[in-house]
């Protein structure tokens, strides 16, 4: 039997969960996030013989193809800077897109467990982004190799890489948490997320420059505010700053992304306080 003061008490009145309880339960289950993320990670790559390699090679390949094709369209002779530019963008956006897609359906997808066992529902949208972290880190290391090979140098901004990874994680977790709850109530969310990501890809400076080097076409100035308002831009630019040593509008972009994360977090807590204990009634 449980001894001493630590006797857990389940006390529910009404369908609301106070935010304090929500956060406390989440903290108590923090090891569950790690555990389920590990399980997700391992089970995903177990049956593929190349395993983790696939998740690194694919964005790298995608980045290279885009870089080679677009360097001819955007301006000749710029392949040297363009390749690392595109690869950092594609790798980062790949993480955001894959993690968000999985997180946005996480509650419904784990309905069999979630409908029968209680653990904070907020655990669920954190699993996929956490499970994708190892491949993001390895991909970024490879991207840094590409940067070095194409003539970039080692610079102190590299120390910002962990911050960039953390920001990417926080963005997909907060957005995913909101979307997955909406998904419980409307299954259209899955497709809206796919459509949204397709648009976001072009609203993020991945294949074009925000502030192009001389002689290269860059984004028309009128469109820059829209691209900066996109929360993915801050993440991508911060990753670029860390890996290549410079990124246009990085301060503004990161500040806007942080604003998005903060706003999403507030909304998520408000929504989960109301819906956490009843969302699974609908599964």
């Amino acid at each position: 039997m449980t001894s001493g003061a630590a006797t857990p008490i389940l006390d529910l009145s009404g369908e609301r969960t106070p935010v304090r309880v929500l956060l406390r339960d989440l903290w108590r289950h923090r090891d569950l996030v790690r555990m389920l993320a590990e399980q997700d990670y391992r089970s995903r790559y177990r049956s593929a013989s190349l395993g983790l390699l696939w998740s690194i090679v694919l964005p790298l390949l995608q980045g290279l193809v885009i870089a080679v094709v677009f360097s001819r369209l955007i301006g000749g002779g710029q392949t040297g800077t363009y390749v690392p530019y595109v690869i950092t963008g594609v790798t980062t956006f790949g993480f955001l897109s894959q993690s968000l897609t999985a997180a946005a359906t996480s509650i419904v997808d784990s309905g069999a467990i979630a409908g029968r066992l209680y653990f904070p529902r907020l655990v669920l949208p954190t699993i996929a982004p956490s499970a994708n972290l190892p491949s993001l880190v390895v991909s970024l290391l490879l991207a840094e190799v590409v940067v070095l090979v194409t003539g970039g140098g080692v610079h102190p901004q590299l120390l910002l890489a962990p911050v960039a990874v953390a920001l990417a994680w926080a963005l997909v977790v907060s957005a995913g948490a909101l979307l997955t709850m909406l998904h419980v109530y409307s299954r259209d969310v899955r497709y809206l997320v796919q459509a949204g990501l397709l648009i976001l890809f072009y609203a993020t400076p991945i294949i074009y420059f925000l502030d192009a080097p001389a002689g290269v076409r860059s984004l028309p100035a009128g469109l820059v505010p829209f691209v900066l308002a996109n929360p993915a831009t801050g993440v991508v630019q911060l990753v670029r700053l860390a890996l290549t040593g410079s990124a246009a509008h990085v301060g503004t972009a990161v500040a806007i992304t942080c604003g998005w994360v903060a706003a999403l977090t507030v909304v998520v807590l408000a929504v989960y306080a109301r819906k956490e204990r009843v969302a699974c009634d609908r599964l």
């Binding site: 389940l10 090891d31 399980q39 467990i113 009843v278």
Partner: protein, 419 residues
Amino acid sequence: MTGSDAITLTGVGKRYTQTEQRDDVLLRRLARLGRNRDRTERWALRDVDLRVAQGETIGVIGRNGSGKTTLLRLLSGVSGPTTGRVRVVGSIAPLIGIGVGFNNELTGRENVFTNGRLLGMSAAKVRRDYDSIVAFSEIEGFLDTPVKFYSSGMFLRLAFAVAIHTEPDVLVLDEILAVGDLAFQLKCMDRMREIQAAGTTIVIVTHNLHTLDRTAPRAVLLSRGQVVYDGPTEQAIGRMHEVMQQESRDRSDLALQEGGGATFLGGAEVRLDLVDDAGVRQRTFATGEPLVVRVEATFDEEVRDPLLGIMVAPVGLGSPAYSTFTVPGAYSAVHGPGRPLEAEVRLDNRLLAGGYTVTVALHDADGEVMVGTTPAESFYVSSFDVHASGLVDLKAAISIGGREVEAPSGSRLGGTPPT
């Protein structure tokens, strides 16, 4: 903590809002925004008060849709009450659906850890109990094999082994833990008794009324979301059968009132006669003497391929002694006004002395809607010639030391014939 309540429910109600399926489509939903939506509200539980003392074992019974599952979900914290308050003191392990959360791609070992944690064990406790879990599962050689290669028996054993090691303060069980071969079942039962003896509060939601009787001294009967009985298990089971009959009658009344489509709803008047082999009406039948139930049903509405069910229950003892029904598709005919149904059910009466009731019911082709039922008709069984007591004559042949020992015939151990 001894003496206090482990579970306290005060005025608990749970309302589910069911929106029409099409509301899940966003466009429709947007189009209907601001207008009254097609919502049906259903109270799965209403005004439930329940106190369970620390260390007590109680059963929760009731037919499907009575609110059992909802109660279980509230107790395990999966869902929150719409009204009232749910309070559970101590750690809770809900064993609802064995093997839930197992990942097929992962090995048995990996699953033990994740599943244990999902069921509320700390990571340290899983590590501590790991050897014991493996020993209990009896599948030592396969722990590094992905679960997808397990036989269903191995899978269940491992899932059970984890579940049974949770050692919570409050254990919430969906159905009594019994699976696998007999030896494994006995092992599970032993373990249950250990858990009980250790002072764990146990709530069992079950259909298996016979096992419940032995496991839980107290049972709560739910009907239509309300507690209609709370007391000794035997009485609760008795009440359950009364309630079920009442609800069946209400349902057929409802069917009569609403009328409706041919097979979906319709009213039937069902009559039955109990006759002996020679076709003579009887009230008393001797053990071993055939019992024939003659059924005649007339219909107000057209009914297609009805299913016929029959239940024999001992008077005063809740559960039926026997029940069966015709298999869907085994019989095909359309009945309706002017086209009655006549049936004969011949029973090999192996019941022992006592009073019994027999009930016959007609269902629609899906077995879902009851079209008509008879009130329970009672009869008596005398067993003067049978040296046995109980419910059923299992015709024991006893040999001691290789020599057959005959029971003296004519003497009785139990049962009194009616006068």
